[in-house]
């Protein structure tokens, strides 16, 4: 939206510190809106704006209108801190972010410091997708709440499923060489070792993040190892290109992934013709079978033109409303207290809980596979004609992991 006249109008308040009226609840949405991550960031923004509209149509939160402030962090931690400051200046007491664990960690640290240094002007950080486990373990903060299952929880659920599948004999791990990829790999080794000691880990690969254009050398290695299953936390182009190279080389294995459903993933799977060989582990998906969730998905797709990537964002916003009503206040400190140990019925059915010890939300986790659809799967993805099909549901109690968090409370 180019508004030459608004360049000044927008940037001047930043300089003059104009006070904003407190009749709206402002949520700073800090994610990439330009640069490489923009397509993902735009999708998230549309989701949150849709959810804000939904809340406002029902009278907002305690009569306050909900407003989303889009702030572009260019996937850069430093830039995110500047944008968080901007959000605070504009009167936001809540920020939400998801893309990039490095950004998430920086924001968590920023919010903690900001709240200690500016008592009375607290800010809460709602995390909808940064899954780095340390954020709710050793680095945990009272001011941070996470609605996505962290990568350890997903691995716990995934290995619980793999435990019962005896056809898995040789597993190959391939992950991106950074903190998230490494934690996937470490946990996979550890949990598989405990639950299926007979499974052989025939390869353990870390490759540079978002820099590989041709995965065929890696596929050649997987092939040479004789693996029957591949576990990967890859996202973005790294999963799409990996699957593409696999199809080119004629590699036939099962893929257990975290993010095959992301933008471009379904198209790549369809092109590679991997019918129900790619599995994904999520907290919800379009064809989950829950009436209300499917109703929501339908309305969402009709309005926004995207499939719902973030069912957790729905849980986040609805739970925020519930917590504010429980506390009868939109004061961040009271909302935070209300969120602790709060039980909530999630979008795709079943109950979840925001654990007090570490502010991690626990919810049912689904394993689904992508391929041709039956009448039980009404939704396809990216116009491929293929959709996700339920393979297994892991209930909340089976996803709970201990935490090392020692939280300091105000």
């Amino acid at each position: 939206m180019l508004k030459i006249t608004r360049v000044i109008a927008v940037t001047l308040p930043m300089l003059s510190g104009a006070a904003y009226a407190q009749d709206t609840v402002k949520i700073g949405y800090i994610d990439p809106l330009s640069g490489g991550g923009a397509s993902v960031g735009e999708g998230g923004l549309k989701t949150f704006q849709y959810l804000a509209d939904e809340l406002n149509a029902k009278g907002g939160i305690l009569g306050h209108k909900v407003e989303i402030l889009p702030l572009d962090n260019k996937t850069n931690p430093q830039e995110s801190l500047v944008q968080a400051q901007k959000a605070i200046d504009a009167g936001a007491h809540y920020i939400t972010q998801g893309n990039g664990s490095s950004v998430g960690a920086a924001l968590e640290d920023f919010v903690t410091k900001n709240n200690t240094r500016n008592p009375g002007k607290e800010v809460l950080y709602f995390n909808y997708a940064a899954v780095e486990p340390s954020m709710t373990n050793e680095k945990c903060s009272f001011w941070h709440f996470r609605w996505d299952a962290n990568s350890d929880i997903k691995m716990e659920a995934l290995t619980n499923y793999m435990k019962g599948n005896s056809s898995i004999k040789k597993v190959y791990l391939i992950n991106q060489d950074y903190s998230f990829g490494q934690s996937v790999r470490t946990q996979a080794r550890k949990m598989l070792g405990e639950k299926r000691p007979d499974v052989q880990i025939v390869g353990d690969e870390l490759h540079p993040l978002l820099k590989i254009t041709d995965f065929s050398p890696y596929i050649a290695k997987i092939k040479a190892s004789g693996a029957d299953s591949v576990v990967t936390g890859n996202w973005g182009q790294d999963i799409a290109l990996l699957l593409k190279a696999a199809a080119d080389a004629g590699l036939k294995v099962n893929w257990y992934t975290y993010y095959a459903g992301g933008a471009g993933g379904p198209t790549a799977i369809k092109q590679a013709n991997l019918d129900h060989q790619v599995f994904q582990i999520t907290e919800g998906f379009a064809n989950s079978g829950d009436e209300a969730a499917m109703e929501f998905e339908k309305a969402f797709r009709a309005k926004v033109g995207l499939s719902l990537w973030y069912p957790r964002a729905v849980n986040e916003m609805r739970m925020f409303k519930a917590a504010a009503e429980k506390a009868n206040s939109i004061d961040p400190v009271k909302v935070a207290a209300a969120l602790e140990d709060m039980k909530f019925d999630v979008l795709d059915g079943g109950s979840g809980i925001m654990r007090k010890d570490d502010h991690q939300f626990f919810q049912p986790i689904y394993i689904s596979s992508f391929g041709s659809r039956s009448e039980k799967e009404p939704f396809d993805e990216e116009n491929t004609g293929w959709g996700w099909r339920l393979v297994s549901k892991v209930d909340t109690p089976q996803t709970v992991l201990p935490t090392t968090c020692k939280m300091t409370r105000p």
Binding site: L206, H207, T213, K223, Q237, A263, T267
Partner: protein, 315 residues
């Protein structure tokens, strides 16, 4: 193991030839005009996106011819209306112009085609496994890429050795000033060379697009490696660029295939020491450092032989 070596060699040679398609144009442009074209990799990207768009409209084979021509035309326009006017401000200004251009092209491409990879597919006529080594399929399209690259290489060689323009270009490689003094229309030769160089980059883009990934950061990913190639081979040396391209292509591919680390060679470090720089270096595998290797090679060659592998000139 043998399977891995065969596949890796094929992949490495292929990547190397692709690098050569790009570095040859860059080298000739640099030798003649003294301009390091920062936007060269951007022309490669333009080639891929033009190829994608034209394939959608008129099919792959016409696109294979048309897209490089279009990119060449863009290149000529850049030389005529950009570089020629900037020439009076010196080489630094020219280099900066191409730097700004690379930046702008990336933004324009991502504005028109978006940030995520576009669906640029291998033409159906070539979408089959050419042969099977042990149990791995080798796609026919990659063989096609290899053939095109080699054909261009041979054509370039003939053009340089047997034609009049080639003679002038060759002379300009070693004695750029003398060529001007001999009364050749240097301006037009420059424009032509720039156009041909860009078109070669464009061609590389058209054929690499479907096999690799066509998206708006492909230029930024490849650009720095290209500079490593031409410095490593020796600035202004075509044979040097050829050897360096193949070498770097093979090194990168083989590094990925290897699993070794210092820890696997000499045994793990004493775990009581805890994480340190040493343990980082000790445990990193060769596959992990594959993307860093070209730059390590660059630093090494600059220490051992500053003019590059086959370079003769100091600038």
């Amino acid at each position: 193991m043998l399977e891995l070596i065969v596949i890796s060699t094929l992949n490495g040679v292929l990547f190397g030839m692709l690098l050569f398609l790009l570095s040859s144009g860059l080298t000739v442009i640099f030798s003649m005009m003294g301009v390091l074209n920062f936007a060269h990799a951007s022309f490669y990207m333009l080639g891929a996106f033009f190829g994608y768009q034209l394939t959608k409209w008129i099919g792959f084979w016409p696109a294979l011819v048309l897209a490089p021509l279009l990119v060449g035309a863009v290149g000529m326009a850049v030389e005529r209306y950009g570089l020629r006017n900037t020439h009076k401000h010196g080489h630094v200004a020219e280099l900066l112009l191409t730097f700004g251009l690379a930046f702008a092209i990336e933004e324009i491409v991502s504005m028109i085609w978006g940030k995520s990879p576009v669906d640029y597919r291998v033409p159906t006529a070539l979408d089959f496994p050419a042969f099977t080594v042990f149990s791995t399929n080798y796609p026919a399209y990659k063989i096609f890429m290899l053939t095109v690259s080699v054909a261009i290489f041979v054509a370039l060689l003939i053009a340089l050795k047997r034609t009049r323009i080639g003679l002038i270009v060759q002379a300009a490689l070693t004695h750029p000033n003398m060529v001007g003094h001999l009364g050749h229309n240097v301006g037009r030769v420059f424009m032509l060379v720039f156009g041909v160089g860009s078109a070669l980059a464009g061609l590389a883009g058209v054929i690499a697009g479907p096999a690799l990934v066509t998206q708006s950061d492909m230029a930024a990913l490849l650009g720095p490696i290209l500079f490593v190639v031409i410095v490593f081979g020796g600035l202004g040396s075509l044979p040097g660029a050829f050897i360096a391209s193949l070498f770097i292509g093979l090194v990168q591919t083989f590094a990925v295939a290897l699993n070794g680390s210092l820890a696997s060679a000499f045994g793990p470090l004493d775990s009581s020491v805890g994480p340190s720089v040493l343990s980082d270096i000790w445990n990193v595998t060769i596959a992990q450092i594959a993307p860093v290797l070209p730059y390590v090679l660059l630093v090494l060659i600059l220490i051992v032989r500053p003019m590059g592998l086959l370079g003769t000139r100091e600038t």
